[in-house]
Subunit: 437 residues, 2 copies
């Protein structure tokens, strides 16, 4: 790669874990970075479910990306939706409002993440919002707390029970954590809040198509998670597929092929992801392969075949460990390091190797499951680990203090400080946000 | 008033200061209270401008009313919009979603407050959102922070300067506090956040039709407030009326009758209030007089003429001190006390007398003005008083701790923890903001 007289221009697309850590890793490199982000914030997506269920405020998990990078003088941030990448001209086109910006690059790091996928049933989105963005979280917060308000005034017992039924689709970490929190919310946090209904009577139903929850954790932990959720009153249906969704409920085809209908006003979609449509743009131009859920097949060093200056990291790259924050973080840092080494004229024949630091998911307060290398943990120890890890990766010291305070309020006490949300908007199908756990 | 065998039914309409304090004051009375509230939260409106400008989260100033009252067993809360009050049948009709609820009362406390008034120019609302609700605050938050994002990508200097111009209409406490915060936000909190623009170049323009800001504080304090704002870079126009508003700017007729046009993408309406339209409903049935801004003329004991069981408190009652939280608080408590005394068979010939505890408004950090009896304060002492008073009246210990932490972050530090907002709803300004353009 030629060393231009003017600084090497790096464009980073996406402000999720991949984009943010790549940018930060380049802070001392002789480069000019432009980070292009659809949202003005870095979303700490693993805690989005806590914004949804009233534990945390949106600001605590969504730090303004330009404030995070304010002291990194080689980085600028522009907000915008990327509409085109031209691999030959080496430019990125982004749009904000009526302003179209063209940004040229010498190196490109594509870290635009993944959005919700409804597996071809996009009409479900209207009734079962996803869990991908702050907008999703606040819309769902309004729906969830609003459902209890409706149940309190509703006099028809069937309608009342439909308002008090919550269906979570998808038994991955997000679905499990949502179901666990909905159970705690109704059984603990809402205590004594109502006079006509008993919020503890709320039904929380978790539907997963696979034969186990949280499959990547292995069968022992998976079964422990299931039992823990059931102990908290969650009804878990495995091997069950959601075949229809409308305003009033959900149709579920069970493992024995029986089809049941559940009357439920509130549905949460935590089932599928598909990578940013920017993958298509690159595949078309480079001839790279796309997986069924839109991820790009990349070289072992994360570059696009034929375009060594283009890196694809995180959920947009086809790896068998997508969906984990660490993959995006390590991929972003790997790309940044490779760019810096190239500029230094150092050997750059590295291959990206994911260093598995483990995975962890909470079930309820004081209860989580974790796999760290060969070690399998569950219960309070796993929960304490979850707490430490999440505080560590949360961006900003002030947010850590504030999140810790809200966790104390919710987990030691029983209140939720952030139950207020703006009135819900008509729900739309979701597009990718930069980055994902 | 007869003492019924079943408990005396009190219906309170509104969960603002009047409604909440009336309900709490009745906690030991032998009554059954139903509090009917349009929103599920008690809004601490004096701090709404801090949610708008990214200092506080919505949960910190909007506590769920049913959580606040969870231990008060003689009170139930129902969410709903009151569509009718029947003074003869003594029933209140409220609607939530598709559920209509009729609630009978023996005593009624009407505390539905006031909404924004555009003085007959309701088309302004589309371009200049008001400052009355959490929805307003979050929509404005998205607009304000989004304007800086637009300025950063905009290359046309005129458009850029329009994005960096903020017009606040109305020089009462809300307008003054908003203008002061917009100045601090752009000059302090956004420091080093941008590469193409200098946010400190933002213009903040405060337009007030009267010859002075904060007229009720008297001319000395009013002039001090004006000078302090100007020192922070706010352009103050007194005796100036906004005669037109559209997407791109504002037309202002100045005190000398010159008309100027200010190109400004962001406009905030903090000018007029008009009492809840429920006042009309009662005026029509009772023959009570309505003032020009929709307030009801009531008896000296705050009851509706001819209907001693109906109390009107706070902004809905015609008093010369409306708009101050203390008037609503004291009015609500007065009504509650009168109801309790009637049930006890005690004399009830009291008249409501407002005990003026003083008024206070912040200009910027460490700077406020206050009038406490004959005492006039300004500067740091007034600001310290403001801080203490607001913490005292904020509902909930947890919120107090959390607000104090956010104030430390913002006033001692310079950050704002809550800059993130959901994307604005399409009815607003076409400004691309918050999350999604």
């Amino acid at each position: 790669m030629p060393t231009p007289l003017s600084p090497h221009r790096v464009v980073v697309i996406g402000s999720g874990f991949g984009g943010l850590f790549a940018t930060k890793h380049l802070r001392r490199a002789p480069v000019e970075i432009t980070l292009i982000s659809k949202t003005p914030y870095h979303l700490f997506q693993p805690l989005l479910y806590q914004v949804t269920t009233g534990i945390l405020s949106e600001g605590e998990i969504a730090a303004p990306i330009r404030d995070v990078l304010r002291d990194q003088s080689n980085a600028r941030v522009i907000q915008g939706e990327v509409s085109d990448i031209n691999l030959d001209a080496r430019t990125v086109t982004s749009t904000l409002g009526d302003v179209v910006t063209q940004t040229p690059y010498d190196s490109l790091i594509l870290a635009a993440g993944a959005g919700q996928s409804y597996f071809g049933n996009d009409q479900f989105a209207e009734y079962a919002p996803g869990m991908k963005s702050i907008d999703d979280a606040l819309a769902l917060r309004a729906q969830i707390f609003g459902a209890f308000e409706m149940a309190e005034v509703e006099t028809d017992p069937d309608q009342r029970s439909a308002w008090l039924t919550f269906v979570v689709v998808g038994g991955g970490p997000t679905g499990v954590e949502m179901a666990g929190q909905l159970a705690e919310l109704s059984r603990r946090s809402m205590k004594n809040n109502f006079r006509s209904i008993d919020p503890a009577q709320a039904r929380v139903i978790l539907v997963e198509a696979a034969p186990a929850l949280l499959q990547v954790y292995g069968s022992t932990l998976s079964q422990r998670a299931k039992r823990a959720l059931e102990r908290h009153g969650v009804e878990v249906h495995l091997g069950a597929r959601v075949t229809d969704i409308d305003t009033d409920g959900v149709e579920v085809t069970l493992s024995d092929n029986d089809t049941i209908r559940v009357a439920a006003k509130t549905k949460v979609w935590a089932a599928g992801v598909s990578a940013s449509p920017l993958g298509n743009t690159l595949a078309r131009q480079s001839g790279a392969e796309l997986t069924h859920n839109g991820q790009l097949e990349v070289e072992p060093n994360l570059t696009l075949p034929g375009y060594p200056e283009v890196f694809v990291v995180g959920d947009m790259a086809a790896t068998d460990t997508a969906g984990v924050a660490q993959v995006a973080i390590q991929g972003g840092e790997f790309a940044a390091r490779l760019i810096a080494r190239r500029l230094d004229g150092k050997p750059t024949d590295d291959e990206f190797r994911y260093h598995d630091k483990g995975i962890i998911a909470t079930i309820s307060r004081f209860n989580a499951i974790a796999r760290v290398g060969p070690l399998k943990l569950s219960g309070f120890m796993a929960w304490a680990l979850w707490l430490g890890v999440h505080l560590f990766y949360l961006v900003g010291f002030k947010n850590r203090v504030s999140v810790l305070m809200h966790w104390t309020i919710t987990f030691l006490g029983r209140a939720r400080s952030e139950r207020t949300a703006p009135a819900p908007k008509p729900i739309r199908n979701d597009a990718p946000t930069g980055g994902r756990p």
